[in-house]
């Protein structure tokens, strides 16, 4: 079955620490990959996306992610987190054929950054 797995459910870091959130997906065909973030009290918003090309993609607020096709992974990274990065992060996959698509989200990772 198609799925998206986020292995870290809760992460606590101090400011300036490096961040890596894991995301693995299960789907054999072509996929589009996304990371969304939800800050407290706000809507889901896009951090970054991968459709094709350079597997290292850069997003907003200093975030980046690397698509490793052989590992079915799309991990999110940030070299130095800030208190304002406290939020919930969701990995998502869009996959389909013949004009019919499904979107799959992971269960999310709650990140708390300590000042």
């Amino acid at each position: 079955a198609q799925s998206v797995s986020q292995h870290n459910h809760h992460v606590i870091l101090s400011e300036a620490a490096s961040l890596e959130l894991g995301c693995n997906y299960s789907y054999g065909g072509t996929v589009n990959l996304f990371w969304y973030v939800q800050y407290p009290g706000q809507h889901l918003q896009l951090l970054l996306k991968y459709f094709s090309g350079d597997p290292l993609v850069k997003g907003i607020k200093g975030f980046e992610a690397e698509f490793i096709k052989s590992k079915f992974s799309f991990n999110l990274r940030k070299p130095s987190v800030q208190w304002s990065d406290t939020a919930e992060y969701f990995c998502a996959v869009n996959a389909g054929t013949s004009g019919t698509y499904k979107y799959l989200f992971g269960t999310g990772t709650r990140l708390k950054v300590l000042a």
């Binding site: 589009n32 996304f34 896009l46 499904k102 989200f105 999310g108």
Partner: protein, 113 residues
């Protein structure tokens, strides 16, 4: 430009009742998707519509249905409500299908008692 709007914001219904949720996409966006998000989980895909046609469906029972209107707004209908339908229902719009990011609305919080 206004973002994705959803109505109502909150709703309380009784088991067995029917509910209609509404979504207006960002101007120019032709695709609308619906998601269910229960506490502690990621959004679960329900439907995607593009140009008034259903183009994707998640694993939800037939009690869930949707449609998209000529102005690209959309309705999600849920019949015979169950307690387990209590959730935040999110609408997202995108310019077209697949290789376009989705913009999410604030959601409708549905409580079934």
């Amino acid at each position: 430009d206004a973002g994705v709007t959803q109505s109502p914001t909150h709703l309380i219904k009784t088991r067995g009742q029917h509910v209609t949720l509404r979504c207006s996409p960002i101007s120019g966006h032709k695709s609308v998707s619906w998601y269910q998000q229960v506490l502690g989980q990621g959004p679960q895909f329900i439907f995607q519509y593009y140009e008034k046609e259903e183009r994707g469906r998640g694993n939800f029972p037939d009690r869930f249905s949707a449609r998209q209107f000529p102005n690209y707004s959309s309705e999600l209908n849920v019949n015979a409500l169950l307690l387990g339908d209590s959730a935040l229902y999110l609408c997202a719009s995108s310019y077209r299908l697949a290789e376009y990011e989705q913009y999410f609305g604030p959601g409708t919080r549905l409580t079934v008692t």
